[in-house]
Subunit: 450 residues, 2 copies
């Protein structure tokens, strides 16, 4: 099962240890069923056949499933990670029609009841599907059917970002790190790091790769709550101009910068990255590319090309993929509208047509697994508060999103790329990457050593 976390193992045991799964009598289902809005329609042999077929197609994940009569269809599953109830026939049919899109909605609205290890279940599905060539083709079709084309105009981009980031800073504060409030992959060079330490390590890693030196001018595209911008200003003594189209985030970022006495060093601009102007020593963007439509990559590269000084250096940090394809349809529609993680070759469309050379690519996928594991744990701890703040459906949706993402990074369905680049003719680039890995006190600026 790959990376099963201690927490998940506990859940796993919790489900297995009930011992209700040994016979045909589905007691836990009955308990759950009592709380669930079950349909009164009669379950047919065809319904059961459909479930068995569906389970087979996705590689027989270790989950026990019952229908709206409370009777198990998959009692042969010996060590289930979870139990699942389909509360009505339409829910079953919708899942079969487009599992990627509908299953999430059905789970969130309570028409599919799920209890157990969500991340483990998702991981089993990913692995079950990827092992089958035929299913790959089926899956591609389904992905394509469930997916809408992404054309992020200025207004659409604003709307998409508003959907995800303007939910309320209070919500994100509950489960992101308390230090720099980073909603992107952390960096764990040492296993025992806390989320707070790992987010700071990520920011240092980015700054080192960029070889920041005092007085540098930095432009940041998509600055989130301004954590990186303020960090760079404080620890590397640079001047930052940071762009974001999320009102809530910019407000928060400005407030924090004032509190921390950094207002003269960091300017937060409520605007689209496409409106960046001026010349900078450094371009940086952490976790924005996921929101940029692929057909806009070349334009993003033009923006970089024109705002980066001759000897400037840049870094883009983004979720990516190995095999090109649309984002999971449900996540794209319900959580992250407009999201589309690129493959490395797709990312190159930013750089290559604009004569920008790639110096360094690092794939830190497993760091995102660890980050998501920590986020999920914190999310679970604050579940009750979040239900009160939002509602049950919202909590189910975000749990699914967090656990689904965790599974996707665990199995390599998603990757995390950090790409360092500069103008092709720039010869002031460090010969070795050694400097990135030197101890803090030795932080040099090899980009400027001739």
């Amino acid at each position: 099962m790959g990376l099963i976390t201690p927490q998940k193992q506990q859940q796993h045991r919790a489900v297995s240890n009930t011992n209700h799964f040994t016979g045909y009598c589905p007691s836990p289902f009955k308990t759950l069923a009592k709380k669930s809005p079950l349909s009164h329609s009669t379950v047919t042999q065809f319904d059961r056949w459909l479930v068995r077929k569906m389970v087979d197609v996705v590689g027989n994940p270790p989950v026990r499933i019952s229908l709206w009569d409370g009777v198990e269809v998959t009692p042969y599953c010996k060590n289930p990670l979870a139990i699942m109830i389909y509360c009505d026939r339409a829910a079953l049919f919708k899942t079969i029609l487009d599992p990627e899109l509908h299953w999430g909605d059905l789970y969130c609205s309570g028409r599919v009841v799920f209890e157990g290890d969500m991340a483990g279940f998702m991981q089993a599905i990913f692995l079950g599907i990827s092992g089958k060539d035929k299913i790959s083709r089926l899956r591609k079709t389904v992905l394509w059917l469930g997916h809408r084309s992404i054309f992020n105009s200025f207004d659409q981009a604003k709307e998409n970002i508003h959907h995800h980031y303007d939910i309320g800073n209070a919500f994100y504060k509950l489960w992101l790190d308390e230090e720099v409030m980073q909603y992107t992959c952390a960096y764990f060079p040492h296993d025992e790091m806390t989320l707070e330490q790992a987010q700071l390590a990520k920011l240092h890693h980015v700054c080192r790769k960029l070889a920041l030196k005092p007085g540098d001018s930095v432009v940041e595209a998509g600055c989130g709550w301004g954590g990186l911008a303020r960090f760079m200003a404080r620890h590397y003594d640079v001047k930052v101009t940071a762009y974001n189209i999320s009102k809530e985030q910019i407000k928060f970022a400005r407030h924090r910068a004032e509190e921390e006495g950094l207002s003269d060093k960091v300017e937060f601009v409520l605007d689209d990255y496409r409106n960046i102007h001026g010349k900078f020593d450094v371009f940086v963007s952490v976790g924005m590319l996921e929101h940029v439509a692929k057909h806009d990559y070349q334009e993003l590269g033009q923006v970089i090309r024109s705002c980066l000084k001759k000897e400037g250096r840049g870094l883009i940090h983004s979720i990516g993929r190995v095999v090109s394809g649309p984002m999971n349809a449900w996540i794209e529609r319900r959580i992250f509208p407009g999201a589309c993680p690129p493959t490395l070759s797709e990312m190159m469309q930013i750089f290559e047509p604009n004569n920008l050379a790639t110096y360094d690519v690092e794939n830190i996928r497993l760091h995102y697994s660890k980050t998501l594991q920590m986020w999920s744990e914190r999310f679970e701890q604050h579940k009750d508060e979040i239900v009160e703040m939002m509602d049950e459906e919202f909590v189910r949706a975000w749990s699914l999103y967090l656990y689904g993402s965790l599974a996707a990074f665990n199995v390599g369905e998603l990757q995390l790329f950090q790409v360092v680049f500069g103008h092709v003719e720039n010869n002031k680039i460090p010969r070795s990457r050694q400097y990135i890995y030197e101890a803090d006190k030795n932080l040099g600026h090899p980009f400027h050593v001739t």
Copy 2:
């Protein structure tokens, strides 16, 4: 002028200090002209206009040019890097028709006489052309005209490799490093390293990236003279199966392995990489991809996919480009038949369609500048021997190739990519690249630390 080496500066001064360029009297041309097979045809105003136009189109490189009457056409050039004489009208016309292809041939056959800093001249041309958008289009057309499609069948591949590598090992021995006879980019983490040290450092760098551990099985595609294969076997205690289609190189490699008592650890196979079979912990290929046609990349990826164990890791080291396009036509025809350095996005066609994830990309272009500079210096030192071994024309061709390549890496026309990869679902990958940069004695095997 970017990276002008001390050697080049000396040449530069040597040309400038003659003081023959201050007036209209082209004494150095006359001296040179005496030795050159000048045409008796009358030089016309149109001939002169053509030269001026040509020089203007390529960005006015600092070179003084005369035609077959010995009179300078470009006396306005104040600090020339070199002097050049067109010995007949056809040579001038051919240059204008397809400079990339014909200039090299004309220089080699002595119909264009060139004296001075060849690398500096090439670099000036690269920079002069790249600054002009219109020329880019013109250049693309010319490149396309001068270029032949590359379809490397098994037989063609053999023929191409024979052309370049079976010239005679004695020739390469004269100017490559004496330690491991590497005909690929060296690695200079420290400026003051010798070529020998830097080639060893390159091999270590590759082995570290691959996190070799004793007993690993390694397959090498395109093993050259077997330097890396023997190095891995000796220093990392691994078992290597190394493929190459160059008879001369395989003969040399086997002989050396026997001499060094490594025959039981290294098997050299005279065969195409497409015939690799078996399962290995490690796949490595240094400097072979340049000889693989782009439409064969996906097939190469299939070979890797099927020969790499589930938790195996791979590395490809290759010359690359930022902007896609064919190889310089002259080099492709006369020196390196079938050569086509890819962009990073083109390289991804090996990995992405085959579900291989990229962990790490490093661009060490400037290391190739330094390597080529050292090769050129050694080549110059052994010029007389090489003339005797081959002939004048061969020496001119190889000088042009080495200096042209040096210029191409200096200006970023060519890049050098090292890509580390593995199966997408492999979670036994090191979390940090720190281990690559640790001191020798601490060499760990983080791929295997769980």
